[in-house]
């Protein structure tokens, strides 16, 4: 197929289809609407189904139904709409149902605006809805990475029977870059023998539920969930590093901001500063050990986010006080500029580098 030039939102759609996802339930909200429109056009071509729901709430519950019937299924939204999906995500997690949910985040809180933001980090990485659960969260920073991670999201969802979040922001959704649709090894062979598709030929009735009125049984259910999360923590951590081999100061950033940081790092490197980037790709499970492993050599960590400081808490937990941490964030949908980050890195690097 070679390289094509596409918008990020459309790349997500095509990558999902590549992963064998033929069902999509959506609702329009800027800046993810291109994904909804893309699926509306593309899915009938692959004999799949696109349905525009009456609300985000309804869309996530249609996903719940489709997933319980055993198919690969996706929905997408942006921050305010994503909040509405939280009830459904909690149910999916509790009922062990695989699904991929996209959040092309925008400025908040409330209606906020439609510019890029990373202020949904807490919501996506700490469960988000009610109850003790987590969802794996993948955060691409380029459009090519969207191709891989969208497919990975479906693989993880099916393998562990869990909802998985693909987290981007308005910039990734709206920008175009050349991408190549290379198929990843996402088709793990799993017999969804649990799916409620009618009992014909397979014996006794199956039920999908998140209810357990018996406290002991509900605790057992919770323990099983936690065992699953332990397994995901062990197997599914993804992280990228840039120029960390000799770095004495590390920048920790993900998604869109990591790209800006990389450009800024190149500039201060030219001035001789030993600085590198740690870019978490899986935001849950968080690459705690990888960050901790650099502590010995680091004099300083600067966390950069398009938020008032959310991921910085996970960096602090990773470092356990061994390295001083500073935070730089912009909110309201503002993307920090390379110049402003260069200034920050110079300021924080001043005096701490050997």
């Amino acid at each position: 197929m070679g390289k094509v030039l596409m918008k990020g939102n459309e790349v997500i759609g095509e990558a999902a289809i590549l992963a064998g996802c033929h069902y999509f339930f959506g609702y329009p909200i800027t800046p993810q609407s291109e994904l909804v429109a893309y699926m509306a056009k593309r899915l009938p071509e692959v004999k799949g189904l696109f349905l525009q729901a009456e609300s985000e709430v309804s869309a996530i519950n249609m996903v719940y139904g489709a997933s319980s019937a055993g198919v690969r299924v996706m929905t997408s939204s942006s921050s305010p709409g994503f909040s509405l999906k939280q009830e459904g995500i909690s149910y999916l997690a509790a009922a062990n149902l695989p699904a991929v949910i996209v959040n092309i985040a925008r400025g908040g809180p409330g209606l906020g605006n439609i510019q890029p933001s990373q202020s949904d980090y807490f919501q996506v990485t700490k469960g988000g809805g009610h109850g003790d659960y987590y969802t794996p969260v993948l955060a691409p920073s380029t459009l090519q990475e969207i191709v891989d991670l969208t497919q990975e999201a479906f693989r993880i969802a099916d393998q562990y029977r869990t909802p998985v979040i693909l987290l981007g922001d308005g910039m990734l959704g709206q920008m175009m870059e050349p991408v190549e649709f290379l198929k990843t090894d996402n088709q793990i062979v799993i017999d969804k023998e649990w799916a409620t598709t009618g009992t014909k030929g397979d014996g006794s009735p199956k039920t999908i539920t998140s209810l357990d009125l018996n406290d002991v049984k509900l605790e057992e259910r919770n323990c099983k969930l936690q065992e699953k999360y332990k397994l995901i923590r062990r197997n599914e951590i993804k992280v990228d590093t840039y120029l960390m081999e000799d770095a004495e100061m590390a920048i920790v950033a993900y998604g869109t901001v990591a790209r800006i940081c990389q450009s800024a790092i190149d500039r201060v490197r030219d001035e001789g500063m030993k600085i590198g980037l740690i870019r978490p790709i899986s935001l849950w499970p968080y690459p705690t050990d990888v960050i901790a492993s650099y502590c010995e050599r680091l004099n300083k960590i600067v966390v950069v986010e398009m938020s008032a400081g959310q991921m910085v808490e996970d960096v602090r937990l990773s470092v356990e006080g061994k390295v001083p941490i500073s935070f730089y964030g912009r909110t309201g949908g503002i993307i920090p500029t390379v110049e402003e980050l260069v200034e920050q890195f110079q300021m924080h690097g001043n005096g701490v580098l050997r």
Binding site: L49, E54, G65, V73, T197, G198, T207, T209
Partner: protein
Amino acid sequence: MKVVFERSKGLLNTETHYCPGCTHGIIHRLVAETLEEMDVLEQTIGVASVGCSVLSYQYFNCDMTQAAHGRAPAVATGIKRVLPKDRIVFTYQGDGDLASIGMGEIVHAAARGENITVIFVNNAIYGMTGGQMAPTSLLGQRTATSPEGRQPQTQGLPIRVSEMLATLDGASYIERVSTHDVAHVMKAKKAIRKAFLTQQEEKGFSMVEVLSTCPTNWGLNPEESLQWVKQEMVPYYPLGVYKDRQYKGEES
């Protein structure tokens, strides 16, 4: 010896949790018998809602998925749309679930002409949570949240769901029935069968509203409860067919 009565194959051999005198059990049986008679149990997926019937997935002898409060029509839509066309999908919802928190979902499922069957059990009260006012509670009806009786000025007026959904072009078959005596139970079964046939023939959205009892929260005994349905509910919620539109070139 001749067997004159037995449990429907559509129900699992287990005791239900329903209170004495509650007609959920009867309505379960009507649904189960219908599915058994139509020989579709093995291709049916039911969607349980939130409320007294939340555990209905433990009673029906077919695949069941339990949905969030009010969302059963959306969940049923997801199931119906991705499975082969021969699958029968139904929701089993109460009045709090369907007519209050789930009003958006039911209206849009009907408007889309979603080819599912909805069994709507209306007993004019929230049962599971302890007898609070429902959107279908009658004027003057005392509940935990309308202790002085439902007042139109403060608590609004009851919603007639069947009449309302019948105004939607997407709805194909809508009937209101009751369970307050044997004759009406038999009529209810006919309606339920017609609703499932509507789905089987791919004619679109079907719903049967079944007037039901709640002796526990109404503070009446079972016999009085049946009388209350007949004397209080039926006059406000008239029984009958509200929509019977034949699609697929059978426009009548």
